[in-house]
Symmetry: C2
Subunit: 131 residues, 2 copies
Amino acid sequence: MRYSNATNYALHTMVHLMLQPERSSVGVQELAQMQDLSPTYLSKILTKLTKAGLIESTPGAKGGYKISRTKHNISFLDVIYAVEGETNFFECSIHHEGCLIENVMTQAEENMKSELKSKLLIDIAKKAESK
Amino acid sequence: MRYSNATNYALHTMVHLMLQPERSSVGVQELAQMQDLSPTYLSKILTKLTKAGLIESTPGAKGGYKISRTKHNISFLDVIYAVEGETNFFECSIHHEGCLIENVMTQAEENMKSELKSKLLIDIAKKAESK
DNA sequence: ATATTATAGATATTAAGAGTCTTTAATATC
DNA sequence: GATATTAAAGACTCTTAATATCTATAATAT
């Protein structure tokens, strides 16, 4: 199993937006170019981030996308959920109560997600900046 | 992202085989019926487990599949790797050295895998037995 | 009014997963 | 040795999700 490319693009975009001075707006054109993507495709991903409240969009001239002013401490998990939805890695197809296998898999998944929830984009942005 | 159904089937089959008295052979017919699968489809999955050395197969009358006599302490991760391959959840498409995002994702993935490596099928089988 | 930029919807393409069918090879039993 | 049984392998189909692309529409700044 793999995370989608979309998740990868979203994470890179978020860090890039975090690095903007004053967290000002950047157009999809520039964001797409940066990652060698078509603007229309990236905009689909960015709309998901917008709906999740992670970024804000303003149409029109001088518009674009910028980091949300209201949502702070955005984590890796926030971005993943926004792009991929809050689905589970594993679900037992044989629906018997309290499947022991599902229990183990779910526990492992939750630990991973808990870790990704504690990883904040801002920390990555700061690290990237200081390089 | 999701683990494949095949992984689910494989895990259930492994536990079932663990529960056999003397760990004797079971035919794909019975294993498939148990999970409401077609035998030919399940056999594809079982062949992967065989090649990975997790189970042993004997063709012919009274043949079937049984837990490997040589490989002990089979973990959840062993089964997952056998079925899905040892792929990574996340790979940065922009191939720059030491991508900070990839680092975070890889670390989280490794922790999860490390946990799944410590979860042994035999323990699940024992729990299931005592119910 | 015009240029710019995001959003939405329709559509096409590709890749992977899921599953079936048929043939071949190996083994046990008689 | 003949026969029945069972796994392995290969070709093939079907479905679904991801990955896009294109066009039209709505919102905003100048």
